[in-house]
């Protein structure tokens, strides 16, 4: 590859446009596009009647190729992987998408190395600056157009001579909280209204009695919360509900894990919750790191998941009917040595292995 030094970190556009795009505009664009992608996955855009973000075919194909959604009878169905994806914080999501993009690049005839180097270039750009497109290769221009659909970069028109990185791009290699707070909070703002950033990241309060209050009106966030919560009341800027055994079981049946739920709650915990628990932690001198969420709730969510897995199954082979203890001991020891032994009973002269080929060969060789 080896692009020249002067181009490694992008080239500023020298043209000072009559309509410079402000950082707020870029944030709003990134928010709208990204929420559009997530909304497409969970199917909220149709429900809420908000202005449908026009997703390109490339975006939809990428989500499908990554097994985040499946198309059945022309309907979009989110997969288990997809559920896990939507519950992650934005930065993790962006990385996930970009990795998928690089992986699928070869399939659509692009050099993945070139795509990757472009992504690194993107992450080093400066927010609010515009960059020249003419130094980019044709593969990179194509990548640029695809990333614009996700809201990672912005260009006024596809034919424009310059592009702007959005916050989704510029915080790729920086601390996740920077991105989480800005896009996260603007995602929660009223749909269609410019992101009301600066108010902090979280909007979810969960109490020790499993009651959940979410200060949001975003149809996307509400439908995410409803995945694992029994919602009860909905107000203009607040929904309330309760995390119950039933609602968590329902989520787990859909393929969401307890850890995903907990990490979602953690990512979006209300500042008040953080403050309260931080203060609580400093007052008692224990060395346990302060947990933002009530421990009773996180423990219980994990226990509800464990309830589902009451038995652990291992496929394999049971060796039995050994005539003497000596005959039993040698292959059993051999199985342990090669690391396939799962269970054994000296008394019953039986043992269970994951794979039988080597042990069977060992037995034959002993004869």
């Amino acid at each position: 590859m080896g692009s020249e030094d002067s181009q490694s970190f992008g080239v500023f556009s020298q043209i000072r446009g009559e309509h410079p795009v402000s950082i707020a505009d870029l944030d709003e664009y990134a928010r709208r596009q990204w929420e559009g992608v997530l909304g497409y996955m969970v199917g909220t855009s149709a429900l809420s009647g908000q202005r449908d973000i026009n997703l390109s075919k490339g975006v939809k194909q990428l989500l499908q190729a990554g097994h985040l959604v499946e198309i059945r009878d022309r309907r979009v169905d989110i997969t288990k992987d997809g559920f896990g994806f939507v519950l992650q914080d934005v930065n993790t999501q962006v990385w996930h998408i970009l990795i998928l993009y690089v992986e699928s690049a070869e399939a659509i005839g692009m050099d993945s190395v070139e795509v990757l180097s472009f992504l690194f270039l993107l992450s080093s750009l400066e927010l609010g600056q515009s960059y020249e497109k003419k130094y980019l290769s044709s593969v990179q221009l194509r990548t640029l157009a695809d990333l614009a659909d996700f809201g990672i970069v912005y260009q006024e028109t596809p034919e424009a001579t310059r592009f702007y990185p959005t916050r989704l791009a510029t915080t790729l290699t920086s601390d996740s909280s920077a991105l989480g707070s800005t896009v996260g909070s603007s995602l929660t703002g009223p749909a269609g209204q410019p992101g009301t950033s600066g108010t902090g990241a979280g909007f979810i309060v969960i109490e020790t009695n499993y009651r959940l209050y979410a200060y949001t009106s975003s149809p996307l966030q509400i439908s995410l919360i409803s995945l694992f919560t029994t919602l009860k009341y909905r107000f203009p800027n607040l929904v309330t509900g309760k995390v119950t055994r039933q609602s968590v079981r329902r989520a787990i049946d859909m393929g969401i894990t307890a850890d995903q739920i907990i990490s979602y709650l953690h990512t979006h915990a209300h500042p008040q919750l953080r403050k309260h628990n931080a203060a609580h932690a400093t007052s008692n001198t224990s060395s346990i790191p302060p947990s933002v969420l009530p421990p009773t709730v996180t423990d219980q969510i994990r226990l509800w998941q464990l309830e589902r897995d009451r038995l652990r199954a291992t496929a394999g082979f049971l060796f039995k009917d050994f005539t003497s203890l000596q005959e039993y001991q040698a292959p059993c020891q051999y199985a342990a040595e090669i690391g396939v032994l799962v269970w054994k009973s000296d008394r019953k002269r039986m043992f269970f292995v994951m794979r039988h080929e080597q042990v069977a060969a060992f037995l034959r060789s002993k004869k």
């Binding site: 499993y210 119950t244 055994r245 039933q246 309830e307 589902r308 009451r310 038995l311 652990r312 199954a313 291992t314 496929a315 394999g316 082979f317 049971l318 060796f319 039995k320 009917d321 050994f322 005539t323 005959e327 039993y328 292959p331 799962v342 269970w343 009973s345 019953k348 039986m350 269970f352 039988h356 042990v359 069977a360 037995l363």
Partner: protein, 72 residues
């Protein structure tokens, strides 16, 4: 003469094992080998999903649900 039998090794609580043993009494169609300790047994590979569904169903019925009430 030693033999090898294909199957699934199940690890579970004694209570769950008791339930599996009870299911097997009906038609002897689950268990390959009862391993005679508290929490292990070998079952037929094809029966795992069936067994899990049955356990979930029965346990849901038996375990009291305290937290589902909508009252304060």
């Amino acid at each position: 003469m030693p033999r090898a039998v294909r199957g699934l090794l199940i690890e579970c609580d004694p209570s769950i094992k008791a339930m599996i043993l009870k299911y097997d009494e009906e038609r002897h169609d689950y268990i390959v080998e009862d391993l005679d300790d508290e929490n292990h047994l070998v079952i037929k590979e094809s029966q795992l999903e069936n067994l899990k569904a049955r356990l979930d169903h029965d346990l849901d019925e038996k375990i009291m649900q305290l937290d589902e009430s909508e009252s304060e």
